[in-house]
Symmetry: C2
Subunit: 224 residues, 2 copies
């Protein structure tokens, strides 16, 4: 059994060492993902690349987790979602987004990022579902940044115009809170303004309710 | 300029030849993506793998498209969205979904697929945004299968329970049609039943309206 929230109490130095190892490695695989879609080399070169990739994969599989990565955390309660599809430092599928926020009750978070060939839906445009993926993560992070981490309850997207592949910005904030529910809003911004608007309800999970009720002073932060 | 809908009039044989070349190549990169997240080999092995991957990438970049892949099609009007984030045969980010449908007015489509480590959000669970990504594609394909291709206008997701990583099923169908708008519905099904429900509005693009108005007998199929 892997996955789950795992307290590993790694030192800051060890976290930094692992980030310095896995960050560039994962970035290299992201480059390979991009060129896999875009390359126009000869068939023989494709076959040769495939054989070499299969050999590398076999060596990496010699020792591996039995399942997905899960989320680890240390004594500060701050999660390391390194396998996450959107923000995961070790996930080549993640662009990855590196979100920014200042501590605030309205949980405002923002992020500048780039989406290339792997995120295409209609020709030249970001896949509508990728916009939803990014905004789900942003709204969830907003809830977490406001001290209200949660699982997505509902999510509504309004597509105002096509989102071109390229440099984009996402913003999210908490709109209101009621009991265990947090309403978050956000949008994507392209070169011609807002392209997609989102609103979501995030449900505070039981472990977070217990910690808040216990008043142990730790804001739950696993979803940041 | 790349991207766009490109009529290339490839023969069926040539399409099959390319699928046989790029399908296994892309599948090999998907395996690498998975193990990039899950491997626990030594640091030196990670660095060695990184160097080899960078060398393969450099060779593949020797000749490449200047941008994203876009969607090509032949004389039957059937699109080949090989770069698509969800269904793209050449996109390692795509699981990929291989959707099935019988020609029908209600546009019913379905798909059995597997989501592993790259699609994780909360530990052990599919990222809520990945469920949205998959369902956006499925609802869009449903509209297309019913002869009503479209760009996503709105999309609403209701999360009933966590979706565990593993074997899943997605289903979608057309709920109703009004002018240029098509309402599609769908859901994800996990081992314990429906996990996420979706409803979306898809807007018929101008080129499809023109073709339908001209009554040229070709159902627009680019979004299938």
């Amino acid at each position: 059994m892997t996955g789950g929230f795992t307290r590993d109490d790694l030192s800051e130095d060890e976290v930094a060492r692992r980030a310095a190892l896995y960050g560039p490695f994962t970035a290299a695989v992201r480059e390979l993902v991009d060129v896999t879609i875009r390359t126009t080399v000869d068939d023989d070169e494709i076959r040769r690349a495939q054989a070499e990739i299969e050999a590398v994969t076999a060596r990496l599989r010699a020792r591996q987790l039995p399942g997905a990565l899960g989320v680890s955390y240390g004594p500060d309660g701050r999660g390391r979602p390194w396998g996450n599809t959107v923000v995961g430092l070790r996930n080549p599928v993640a662009p990855p987004l590196v979100t920014e926020h200042h501590p605030s009750a309205d949980g405002r978070v923002w992020c500048d990022f780039h989406l290339g060939a792997p995120y295409e839906g209609p020709p030249g445009l970001v896949h509508g579902g990728v916009s939803a993926l990014v905004l789900d993560q942003m709204l969830g992070e907003s809830a977490g940044a406001g001290g209200r981490p949660g699982m997505t309850g509902t999510l509504t997207l309004r597509y105002r115009q096509g989102t071109p592949l390229g440099d984009l910005r996402a913003e999210a904030w908490i709109d209101r809170v009621d009991g265990i529910k947090t309403w978050a809003k956000g949008h994507l911004i392209g070169p011609d303004g807002v392209t997609v608007e989102a609103e979501g309800v995030f449900i505070l999970p039981r472990w977070a309710r217990d910690r808040i009720a216990a008043g142990d002073g730790d804001t739950p932060r696993f979803f940041e």
